[in-house]
């Protein structure tokens, strides 16, 4: 490809009386739609995933509890001998400790797909404040590590969850309501092991699920271990994978070397995940159609170009231009339209995304931040992917017209044109 082809293609694109601009517009609309749709769907999905699974870690690793399993599989027998069942249920919620958890945790944290690891100890008990008592789940955490595993911070309505330790606890918003606790209130936790300890409420959270808001109480890991009387043991290792969508793969990796019970958020949210996937498929189809339409746009204008320029092609050939050079000119024109359209579409699409992203519902907040009307999540990868596809589309859809141009018989072309 020499300067000649570039020059002819460039001049031709510049003097096409609006045809170049129109085709570029068609490509741009395609790219714009793809960028915008992807950002929108991603935004909606990330929001949805946050809502649905934000309060659980990507992956949890626990000691398996074989004794409890059969109980869950007996349907409709809950009413028979209520006491026994309650006791068995308690046994089942009383998780078993992980042997040598420190080693397990170290090994997991070295896996390539893992971003962070945090141990927790969990056990049941009850909270008392004044005359009120309520059953709870005590969760001992290392706050700074737990916060790397889950997005705790934006779940906090009041107070500071990083303060959670021997004396400070964090409780759910519903529990706080039920027992009338606010930041700074004193609460008493009693574990099933019969040990009691007093804490100050340092944070109140909203996990978005009732079960958590109702019953979860975070304390420091050490403190919870003492409360539950488990020495230095933990019951769960929480894992954050680098991408939320690779959680299942990371879980499989952990399973490959550990007999522990490994659960990814994907295992427990299969139906939800299927919904997301079919949504993605639908989005991809729409985007593919859009780009296909752009491709036809480019191809048809390129064909018109070739017809319009038939005589020029003949003249260029009479001056020694080879079929390859002629083909090059038209392929370059397609490429130019693709690049121009991609730049235009990516620019406008990105601008639109940020514009929409910053539309707030007046006066309303969500998770402490102003509530956006449409949750957009723009990503450079959408721009790059859409642009790459648009440029490829421009290139490919010009190949056939370019071939036709290259094959034109010069005598015919000069005569007809």
């Amino acid at each position: 490809m020499s300067k000649f082809e570039f020059k002819v293609a460039w001049r031709h694109l510049l003097t096409s009386h609006g045809q170049t601009e129109l085709t570029m517009g068609a490509v741009a609309v395609g790219v714009l739609l793809v960028v915008f749709l992807s950002s929108l769907i991603n935004g909606l999905q990330v929001g949805l995933i946050e809502d649905v699974v934000g309060s659980i870690p990507h992956i949890t690793v626990e000691a398996s509890t074989p004794g409890a399993t059969p109980l869950w599989k007996i349907p409709g027998k809950g009413g028979v001998g209520g006491l026994v069942v309650t006791k068995l249920e308690k046994m089942s919620t009383q998780k078993r400790k992980i042997r040598q958890w420190q080693r397990v945790s170290d090994t997991i944290s070295q896996l390539p797909g893992v971003e962070a690891v945090a141990p927790t100890v969990e056990g049941s008990g009850f909270v008392s404040r004044g005359v009120k008592n309520q059953g709870i789940i005590i969760i001992g955490i290392l706050p700074s590590e737990q916060m790397r595993v889950m997005s705790l911070k934006n779940r906090v309505l009041e107070g500071d969850i990083s303060k959670v330790d021997q004396q400070n606890a964090a409780i759910g918003v519903k529990l706080a309501d039920d027992i009338g606790a606010t930041i700074g209130s004193r609460i008493r936790l009693t574990s099933d092991a019969g040990i009691t300890q007093t804490y100050k409420v340092a944070a109140i959270f909203d996990m978005g699920i009732d079960q958590a808001n109702d019953a979860w109480v975070y304390t420091g890991l050490r403190s919870a271990q003492a409360l539950l009387n488990v020495g230095k043991d933990v019951t769960t290792i929480n894992v954050r994978s680098k991408s939320i969508f690779t959680a299942d793969k990371v879980a499989d990796q952990i399973k490959s070397f550990s007999p522990l019970l490994v659960t990814s958020w994907m295992d427990s949210n299969k139906a939800f995940l299927d919904t997301l996937r079919s949504q993605n498929t639908a989005a991809v189809i729409i985007q593919a159609m859009t780009l296909l339409a752009s491709a036809f746009g480019v191809a048809s204008v390129m064909i018109v170009f070739v017809v319009q320029k038939a005589r020029d092609i003949g003249i260029l050939k009479s001056m020694g231009a080879t079929a390859r050079q002629i083909q090059g000119i038209f392929v370059l024109e397609g490429l130019g339209v693709g690049i121009g359209g991609a730049l235009l579409g990516a620019g406008i699409g990105t601008g639109l995304c940020f514009l929409v992203q910053n539309l707030y519902l007046p006066g309303e907040t969500f998770g402490g931040k102003p509530a956006t009307i449409i949750p957009m999540q723009w990503d450079i990868s959408y721009v790059l992917a859409a642009s790459a596809v648009a440029i490829a589309v421009g290139l490919l859809s010009s190949v056939v017209p370019a071939r036709r141009a290259a094959k034109l018989d010069p005598v015919e072309a000069i005569r007809r044109g």
Binding site: S2, K3, F4, K7, V8, R11, H12, L14, T15, R311, D312, I315, L316, K317, S318, M319, G320, A321, T322, A323, R324, Q325, D409, P410, V411, I414
Partner: protein, 246 residues
């Protein structure tokens, strides 16, 4: 006269061309023709007699049905498409009835086009040479103009410079004055004649204008796809009105 001993720059052997399948139309029927370097040949004949076809075959714009063309001793039927393109770009120059300049380019860029196509871009020497040609044909102050901004005669002169840009051995001109009034036609013709004698380029020029044909060194007459007359023009100052053709 010393040219006679030179190898012909254009030679056709039993050149035939049929358009269409089966019986079709025979546009050329076994034409044997030679042109020496620097020769100025006028090709005349009735409409539809095959003049353009002959030029297109010689110019490697089209392939003959049978027979062959030699340019500079090179049999063009042995060349592939790229070889033919190289021949058109390097050895041959075309001038058509219409200027066919590319409208997206300036006059100078148009004139430089053959050099841009073939040699990966004109050198500064090339540019100087083409500019001097443009000046010579009276387009010194029109180089930056677009073809559409020129008069018909100016456009044709620019097209002539373009045909000369690659320093061809042969220029094939199919009715180059056909679209001009007689005054401009005569001007362009004189220019061609002058360039011919200046640079020693062979000219094959199709014309319907007998008066102009008389100015050539040699006249070839085509009729029904055959050469029916081929003779040197007698150049006697006083007998300029004596027309050899009836």
């Amino acid at each position: 006269m010393d040219n006679i001993l030179e190898r012909p720059v254009v030679e056709t052997v039993k050149l035939s061309k049929r358009y269409g399948d089966g019986v079709g139309t025979w546009a050329l029927r076994g034409v044997d023709f030679c042109a020496r370097p620097g020769e100025f040949v006028a090709v005349v004949g009735a409409s539809g007699s095959g003049k353009s076809t002959l030029l297109n075959m010689i110019g490697a714009l089209d392939r003959p049905t049978s027979g062959f063309v030699k340019i500079n001793g090179q049999d063009t039927s042995k060349l592939d498409d790229n070889g033919l393109a190289a021949l058109r770009g390097g050895t041959l120059g075309f001038i058509f009835q219409f200027h066919y300049l590319l409208n997206e380019f300036s006059v100078l860029e148009n004139a430089l086009m053959p050099l841009s196509i073939c040699n990966g871009g004109p050198t500064s020497d090339d540019v100087e040479w083409v500019k001097s040609l443009l000046k010579r044909v009276g387009l010194a102050d029109r180089m930056k103009h677009r073809p559409g901004q020129l008069s018909g005669g100016q456009q044709q002169r620019a097209a002539i410079v373009r045909a000369l840009a690659n320093r061809p051995k042969v220029i094939l001109a199919d009715e180059p004055t056909g679209n001009l009034d007689s005054q401009n036609g005569a001007l362009v013709f004189d220019l061609l004649r002058e360039l011919n004698s200046l640079f020693g380029i062979a000219f094959l020029l199709v014309t319907h204008d007998d008066r102009l044909a008389q100015e050539a060194e040699r006249i070839v007459m085509v009729e029904d796809g055959r050469i029916v007359a081929d003779y040197e023009v007698a150049r006697v100052e006083e007998e300029i009105d004596d027309r050899p053709i009836a």
